[in-house]
Amino acid sequence: MNGILTAAAAAALMIALSPPPSQAQAQTRVVPFPGAVRPTTAPPKGPPGPVPHMPDGKPDLSGIWNGQRALPNQPEPEMVPWAAALTKQRTENYSADDPEARCIPAGVPRATPYHYQIVQTPSLVLMLIEGNIHTFRQIFLDRKEHLKLSQPLWYGDSIGHWEGDTLVVDTIGFNDKFWFDMAGHPHTSQLHVIERYHRRDFGDLEVQVTIDDPGAYTKPWVVNRVSTLETQIEISEYVCNENNTDTLHLVGR
């Protein structure tokens, strides 16, 4: 293509090259919202079929799941003034200081586009996280009390129990170093996250996240997400620091 494109031609070109409508992420818009982008359409559904069960009768959540996607029409969190101001500052600077861009752990409950694999036993559920850093979460089903931690953690201390067919994961003990999303929603070490995992059918995992942090938010708030089952691939190796050449070029505004 020769010559300078006009703005209209450029727009037409980009529309013509846009991904197909099935790619819901292409139909999103940015707002200050946990998840950074508020989806306008529901995520696609996973493969159909019945929910598999463990020998103990509990639903089997094992499998490779696509990164959690927020459902449309999620509420905005109500922040205390310092948190609102910080989020605004981070967003207006195009999230140039996002720790995740430095290969820092994403913490909980940040959603990513990467897969995670659930490995379930009666006493322990593991989440093998493909990226942003290649790591894991441990959810202990065999104790009822949180550990008395000597220092706060990136992923906190998670204990779980079953409420019917829903795995309820209760996590405290976080440090305050990670962002909830690319918009830059902050938190404090008072953060308490409750995740409710419900395998609706074979291919869809509903995840309801309640975020309670009186240090940064005026009241607890809830985000509803879904992961779809990935049946075609394995989670891949992901070494974030191998080629992270962006850091010097994240200039923001």
Binding site: I15, Q25, A111, E130, G131, M182, H249, V251
Partner: protein, 130 residues
């Protein structure tokens, strides 16, 4: 070997990178489109990169460093480690780096040697839900 730059308002939804904010690093208003020869492929996380030498009408060669998405995202979009080979002729559409680093850009679309067009994976089409 041709190169076209454009400054225009793009009408699609603002995209984000999987690993870092797109607009922290690249400029939507500085679109690049060029053809050239692949000189190197880096199949690594958090972003794959490929390098292209492109010659303008005067014969001057520019060395381009194009950022792609993370490998898990690229795999889903049809990329493979050997999708681009040194010596391949490719056509690339993308966006220039904000900080003005010469030859640095984000690839939004790449036309592969076999005619397949794939998304860059990192700029506009990755899962932005994070």
């Amino acid at each position: 070997m041709q190169k076209t730059m454009s400054c225009g308002v793009l009408l699609f939804a603002m995209p984000l990178l999987a690993h870092h904010s797109f607009e922290a690093e690249y400029d939507f208003n500085k679109q690049i489109k060029l053809t050239g020869t692949v000189t190197k492929m880096e199949w690594m996380n958090p972003h794959a990169h490929f390098y292209v030498d492109s010659k303008d009408e005067s014969g001057a060669v520019t060395h381009w460093n194009f950022e792609l998405g993370a490998i898990p995202v690229l795999l889903k979009q049809g990329w493979r480690k050997d999708s681009l080979k040194v010596g391949d002729q490719v056509s690339v559409e993308g966006f220039l780096a904000k900080d003005g680093t010469k030859g640095m850009a984000n690839a939004r679309r790449v036309l592969l040697p076999d005619g397949r067009r794939v998304f860059g994976g990192s700029s506009a089409d990755t899962n932005a839900n994070q």
